[in-house]
Amino acid sequence: MMTEIRIVSRGGQGGVTGAKMLAYAGHLDGKFVQAIPKYGAERKGAPIFADVRISTTHVKTHAPVITENTHSWIVLDPSLIQTIPLSKLSQDTLIIINSQEYPKSLQNENKLRIGKVDAVKIARECGLIKSGTEMVSTVMLGAWVKATNMVSLESLKNAVKHQFGDGELTDANIRSIELAYSQFEFI
């Protein structure tokens, strides 16, 4: 069993680090994992994505996730919904969006499972702001865990600890995960 997740974000939002943390959480749960950042020449602010695979056996593929097979899309910036090739998605694909409200462009997509969380708000609440940008990636991971239960909340928190070490930043991120976990809702 292999689960493929794509995190869609803008340079600077923490999407790549988020992918690593998610993979790490899977790793702590005893799964085989992979985190693939898609590198380009893009700079801060440009759209980028990173893929995560969580599997019960060693992952042999190295390619970016295949659209049809992707289990979940975690979208860190609502303006990036347009980059998702909706028509190619399979039945029940999960899309989690950082957004206050239900995105209009998805209103008629009934083969998908769509959820949202106001990650910007949570990030601000928790003080997760760097150079003026809200760091929403851990928030979004918290929401995804709530939605899927595919890694344990505990492991995700430990992954955050592993990433940021002990200290305020970790505390803030863990708090944000908890908030997201409680505030996430399917639409």
Partner: protein, 295 residues
């Protein structure tokens, strides 16, 4: 005397909007200002951040003919262009646009040869003090004490004095300039463009991404480098050095803004101890002393 802004306003748009440069990019300011001052430029760009900000093929942000070339081949490729255009009788200005890595390090022999041959080229080095393209590694231009990804404990050696090395080649024109003083830069480029032979202009071009500085402060960091004496502004014409109006006063260490003000605005200097800062001050003074010999 510096050119007035209105005189600059009909310059051509050489760097088109909507490119890959980071917000607050110092090299973009440098490029726009310098290249727009030239008559029919052809620009050779070795590997550096400038080869990234130009965006992806088949589009390009540069609005002038541009040859991308291997890291160490800037001045040789430019030599070829200059000679070819001479053979063809075409009126163009051949330009090398290189980072400090390309100029101070891997490409040094290349330009030194071209300088010895006194090729008809203007060589610009925009100096962000390190390898920005590849993620902030040490270069020969990295100042003592600066943390880079290959000098995580801070660089032990002082930065190469590329200008004195150039000056030892006895080329007709050398200048330093800064994106903190765009009019001064523009004026110097205009002046250089009237001279024949190998000309060199070193441009201080802060990199907010690599220096971890506020993008809005890019020009201010340029100014501070001048005001602290860290980056003196001057010209060397036929071996004779003249400090620029903007720079002359910082000859007097008393008049300089304390270097700490400059250092504290960039996290790359965060680890510096006070003894290291003292050493850097010595490096600065040493450079001024050496430069003064050429006055």
């Amino acid at each position: 005397m510096n050119v007035k802004i209105p005189e600059m306003m009909d310059r051509p748009e050489v760097l088109l909007r909507g490119n890959f440069a980071c917000a607050g990019c110092g090299l973009s300011i440098a490029y726009k200002t310098a290249i727009s001052a030239l008559n029919r430029p052809i620009v050779v760009i070795p590997a550096c951040c400038s080869s990234v900000i130009q965006s992806l093929h088949p589009n390009v942000t540069y609005n002038v003919p541009t040859l991308n070339i291997a890291f160490a081949a800037h001045a040789s490729a430019a030599s070829g262009i200059a000679r070819a255009k001479k053979m063809r009788g075409e009126d163009t200005t051949t330009v090398v646009w290189s980072g400090d890595g390309g100029t101070f390090d891997i490409g040094l022999a290349t330009w030194s040869g071209a300088a010895e041959r006194n090729e008809n080229i203007i060589h610009f080095c925009y100096d962000n003090n390190f390898y920005s393209n590849t993620g902030a590694q040490r270069s020969g231009a990295t100042p003592r004490g600066a943390v880079t990804t290959t000098t995580p404990g801070g660089k032990k050696e002082k930065r190469k004095s590329i200008v004195r090395i150039m000056a030892a080649h006895d080329i007709p024109y050398i200048a330093t300039a800064s994106i903190g003083y765009p009019r001064d830069l523009y004026t110097k480029v205009k002046k250089a463009s009237l001279i024949e032979g190998y000309r060199f202009i070193l441009i201080d071009a802060p990199c907010p991404t690599g220096w971890n500085s506020d993008p809005a402060l890019t020009p201010e960091l340029g100014e501070l480098a001048v005001k602290t004496g860290y980056f003196p502004l001057y010209e060397i014409e036929k071996g004779k050095l003249t400090f620029s109006r903007r720079g002359e006063r910082y000859r007097d260490p008393e008049k300089r803004v304390p270097i700490e003000e400059y250092l504290s605005k960039q996290s790359r200097f965060k680890k510096m101890t006070s003894t290291q800062i003292l050493e850097v001050k010595k490096d600065i003074q040493h450079e001024w002393d050496q430069l003064s010999l050429f006055e």
